[in-house]
């Protein structure tokens, strides 16, 4: 045993931990709304028992709010479950539209907290690629993290999966102060290992503030 931690494995674990922390935060927020709504129902019931009229409209609003939060929590848990299952098949045919939308949703709390709006421009037809879905998600997460940490006023990032001559690519536009030097700095050992594993290449277009992730 050398004591050296595999950089790819460590990056994957770090990614999974950050998503788990973000997801648990979201679930806690949803539970907090449910808790207040249920608490308010209890308040209204106690007041009704003491003879105060029950406000039916308010009851209806609270019930609607609770149902909405249950749906929200269910969607959060479903997305977490989909991420967890992306480790089932290490190499598989993947629809990049579905994958991009999932990671955009999972990263939403982090990007919104930094004041960013990330949108996915998804083509009508599937964009298929043979890939490792877990590490591709990890790489997209890192690219978004790189985007929201760029200095500058840009606050909107668009992700666009597309078919290309070599198969497929994913474009990220809206980067502030994007330079090749910055992109080189971004390509740390774990990122380089991910690109190698995924058989992908990263290119920066400084003028357009765009990064392209191409499948080779």
């Amino acid at each position: 045993m050398t004591g050296r931690i595999d950089p790819l494995g460590a990056a994957g674990l770090s990614f999974y931990s950050k998503v788990s922390a973000s997801i648990s935060h979201e679930i806690k927020n949803s539970l907090a709304v449910l808790n207040e709504s249920a608490g308010f129902l209890e308040d209204l019931t106690l007041m009704a028992k003491k003879g105060r009229d029950l406000d039916i409209n308010r009851l209806e609003t609270l019930a609607g709010s609770m149902l909405k939060q249950v749906k929200r929590s269910d969607a959060i848990v479903k997305n977490m479950n989909r991420l967890a299952h992306s480790l089932d098949d290490p190499w598989t045919q993947t629809d990049l539209n579905v994958l991009v939308e999932l990671i955009r949703t999972l990263s939403e709390r982090t990007t919104v907290t930094r004041g960013f709006k990330v949108t996915a421009a998804l083509p009508d037809s599937p964009v298929m690629a043979e890939t490792n879905p877990f590490f591709l998600k990890n790489l997209i997460w890192l690219i978004l993290d790189f985007a929201v940490n760029r200095p500058g006023n840009a606050k909107a990032i668009e992700i666009r999966p597309e078919k290309s001559e070599s198969g497929a690519r994913i474009s990220f536009t809206g980067f502030a102060n994007l330079t090749q030097v910055a992109l080189n700095d971004f390509q740390t050992e774990p990122v380089r290992r991910m690109l190698e594993l995924l058989n992908c290449r990263l290119q920066a277009d400084e003028n357009q503030g765009m990064i392209q992730l191409s499948f080779l």
Binding site: A21, H25, N29, A32, S37, D43, S65
Partner: protein, 124 residues
Amino acid sequence: MRILLVDDEEEFVATLAERLSLRGITADWVTNAHDAENLVNTQHYDLAVLDVKMPKVGGRELKKILEKKQPGIKTIYLTGHGSEEDYQAGSAEAEFYLMKPININDLIRKINDALDRKAQGGGS
């Protein structure tokens, strides 16, 4: 007593304000730091309950802004989930640091404790 609630979860903060009102506590609420700043320009608050993680300006940064505008305002932090490091830092800065979902009676106790300390001239 008048308190300010700031949390980006609108349904949470609006309902909490209503429940506090039923218990005799006047609570104004907003969902972002910008609106909170506008409110403190025209209204005095004894205490602010702030969500730590909000888009653009979080509770810890907002606390400093509010203290400049209303020196002596007391603060309670709320969070959905935080690291041990966040908890230690938050506990040192604010009067209290509560985890969501909250117990309203616990929150009211903390509000009263913080305001008692303020009346005695102590606290952070």
